[in-house]
């Protein structure tokens, strides 16, 4: 589904990704871990198409197509979703209206008619229940005055509404208490099936107790320096990142 080959990217003059290789197949859950500043958030932004980042080498293929030239919205239309570490506040646009616009624009790009209002309401009801979101919350301005937990829950609600093929969850666990973490993880797990894939980007192992990965990758200095199964996450939790840094720096 997602195939990243030798990806190099920089922001302004600073090289951040220095040769990433990663393949994600349908049905898989990948975790990308790593110390602060290793390039985790850059990787997710580059996949989603943030223009500030310049790809200097390598390619990103999504379902066999090189997506480098595609705008962020075109990638979204193909089924890539990024849950933001810091969701942006947009005063004056309600959650519901934002989702209606996003869904109908996506449908338009796919050559479909706008979703009938009745179906839209049903979908909103269903997905807000999944994320245990109060209906009143949906008429509030997007992310404005939301608590950290509400913002993250709202991200996963949007994911549920858009039903992407590939979801990248960037530090979705940060700022969440244990109850919110469980609700968010439960939401992700219910949405997971054999045709879609999830990439979880996290600093801590905590979220991976709930969203269990098939593969764990360690990102350091813009490269994936180690890959393994879910036991690697536990090892990192116990031993920290220093041993990896030493291993890499020794080479």
């Amino acid at each position: 589904m997602l195939k990243i080959e030798n990806l190099h990217a920089r922001v302004e003059d600073k090289a951040i990704l220095r040769g990433i290789n990663l393949e994600v197949k349908p049905g898989e859950v990948h975790a990308i871990m790593g110390p602060n500043g290793s390039g985790k958030s850059t990787l997710s932004s580059v996949i989603a198409g943030k223009e500030e980042y310049e790809v200097t080498d390598g390619s990103i293929f999504f379902e066999g197509e090189d997506i480098e030239e595609l705008a962020a919205e075109e990638r979204a239309h193909k089924g890539i979703f990024l849950s933001f570490q810091y969701p942006v506040e947009i005063p004056g646009v309600s959650v519901t209206n934002f989702m209606k616009t996003a869904i109908n624009e996506t449908r338009k790009a796919q050559g479909l008619e706008e979703m009938p209002a009745k179906d839209m309401l049903k979908l909103i009801r269903e997905k807000s229940e999944l994320l245990e979101i109060d209906r009143k919350f949906l008429s509030r301005s997007l992310n404005e005055g939301f608590s950290g937990g509400e913002k993250k829950r709202n991200e996963i609600f949007q994911m549920a509404m858009l039903d992407p093929k590939l979801a990248i969850l960037d530090e979705t666990d940060s700022g969440l208490d244990i109850d919110a973490l469980r609700i968010v993880a439960n939401g992700v797990n219910k949405l997971k099936n054999e045709n879609n894939a999830v990439v979880v980007i996290t600093h801590y192992q905590r979220l991976l107790d709930y969203i269990v990965p098939d593969f764990v990758h360690v990102l350091y200095n813009g490269r994936i320096v180690k890959s393994g199964g879910k036991e690697l996450a536990h090892e990192l939790e116990e031993k920290g990142y220093d041993w990896i840094k030493e291993e890499v720096d020794a080479k």
């Binding site: 989603a48 198409g49 943030k50 223009e51 500030e52 705008a71 962020a72 919205e73 990638r75 979204a76 239309h77 979703f81 990024l82 933001f84 969701p87 942006v88 506040e89 947009i90 005063p91 004056g92 646009v93 209206n97 934002f98 209606k100 616009t101 996003a102 869904i103 109908n104 624009e105 996506t106 790009a109 706008e114 301005s141 949007q158 858009l162």
Partner: protein
């Protein structure tokens, strides 16, 4: 002959054509003298530092367009808030259009300035109110000198006027260039409530210059809501001079929507002559090309325990120029005044300009006054966030700009107007805002 000379020399002929009421005759004669002495304002005047009239004064305007009453309602329906029942006072090239209008004398007077100026039964109101708060500056005086037609609205006390009143000025383009000088007088007596929608709409690419003066008197506990929808084409210019005199406990608001025009200058003046008065001045400006919109506001706090709220938003594209000059005067007696002013702007293009200048003159010591202005670009992180959800760049921009101007719309009381303005904003921004209000 330049425009000033042309105007001055045509004054006598004009006075001979209209009914010469002694009172109004004197007012007009004084006014033309002031205009003759002062002439058109130039950039040397502090109040006109950022707005030059040169480009609009160069045309050879026809001052008294001939009557051409050729508009069919179905052709101009879209310029009315037609979804609701309303009174209408409609002018085409400055002349009253009876078949597009719906006036009344049933308990309230919604009719014509020409009637009010000539008929004895209105004499008292005219003598009490006409030209009583209009300033003596050159442009207002010019209008006063030629004042003969416009809307006359008199709401006696204890009347809640259910239907809004629409005042619409069309220019048809029958002349190569047209100058219009509508004069409106609105008197709202004790405890009465009225909602007014004023629109200036050019139907032509021929240049039009409108120099409009409106006097509004909101007497004790009256409520006046005034909505101004301004020109939307590239050849029409508007100088709007509005003066609002408020008495004790009255509430008055003016919302100004400026979505185009070659040059638009809004001189909006509030005078608070009483206690516990509330004044609201709001505006949304969305322009591009080489368009120019200048908001010049004055709130004069004269007595204690009053409030004023100003909130102006501007979105400027291409080489458009915006000006906001907001003056608040708080007199020594006006203790416990709350005066707020905000002016927020988005520049979409590198070539667009905004000049914003708050001007607070506070002589009282126990007051709350604030002002703030911002100039920014569209939030890039918000753009990426929306696009990552599948909303294309253009729609995302539109949604952000809509959201930006949303605060101003939230105080629009008539839902149909709110909806109409939303649509105008969406059209202006070239997006399909994919939802209803």
């Amino acid at each position: 002959m330049d425009l000033k000379d042309k105007l001055v020399s045509s004054f006598l002929a004009f006075e001979n054509r209209v009914d010469v009421d002694a009172y109004v005759h004197d007012v007009r004669t004084d006014a033309i003298k002031i205009f003759e002495e002062k002439g058109f304002p130039s950039k040397k005047d502090e109040a006109w530092k950022y707005t030059s009239l040169n480009s609009v004064l160069k045309h050879d305007y026809s001052l008294f367009p001939k009557q051409e009453d050729a508009l069919e309602y179905r052709d101009v329906k879209k310029y009315f808030i037609h979804e609701i029942d309303s009174y209408k006072i409609v002018f085409i090239d400055g002349k009253y259009s009876s078949h597009l209008s719906q006036t009344t004398h049933d308990g309230i007077d919604v009719c014509l300035m020409s009637a009010a100026l000539s008929k004895p039964k209105y004499q008292l109101v005219i003598e009490n109110y006409f030209n009583k708060i209009a300033s003596k500056d050159s442009l207002t005086s010019l209008n006063t000198a030629f004042s003969s037609e416009g809307a006359f609205i008199h709401i006696p006390k204890n009347k809640v006027v259910e239907k809004p009143i629409q005042i619409v000025h069309f220019s048809s383009g029958n002349e190569a260039a047209t100058m219009l000088q509508p004069r409106n007088l609105i008197v709202v007596d004790e405890n009465s409530h009225v909602q007014i929608i004023e629109r200036h709409q050019s139907l032509t690419d021929n240049p039009v210059l409108t120099n409009c003066v409106t006097e509004v008197f909101a007497n004790k506990r009256a409520i006046v809501d005034y909505y101004k929808i301004q020109n939307d084409n590239l050849t029409a210019s508007l100088i709007d001079n509005t003066f609002i005199n408020q008495k004790r406990e009255s509430v008055a608001s003016v919302h100004t929507f400026s979505f185009g025009g070659k040059l638009t200058r809004n001189n909006l003046n509030f005078f608070q002559n009483g206690e516990r008065i509330d004044s609201t001045l709001k505006g949304v400006t969305i322009i591009g090309d080489k368009q120019h919109v200048d908001h010049n506001t004055l709130v004069h706090h004269i007595e204690p325990n009053c409030e004023s709220h100003q909130d102006y938003k501007g979105i400027f594209d291409d080489s458009a120029v915006g000006v906001f000059n907001g003056k608040v005067i708080v007199e020594k007696e006006a203790q416990k005044t709350n005066a707020f002013q905000a002016n927020n702007n988005i520049l979409i293009s590198d070539k667009a300009t905004i000049n914003t200048k708050p001007q607070l003159e506070i002589f009282a010591d126990d007051v709350k006054c604030s002002h703030g202005c911002t100039i920014g670009q569209l939030d890039e992180s918000a753009m990426f966030y929306m696009r990552s959800r599948g909303i294309p760049e253009k729609e995302a921009k539109g949604l952000l700009m809509y959201a930006f101007s949303n605060n101003v719309l939230s105080s629009v009381k008539i839902p149909e107007i709110k909806q109409r303005i939303t649509k105008l904003i969406a059209n202006k921004l070239g997006v399909n805002i994919g939802f209803d209000l």
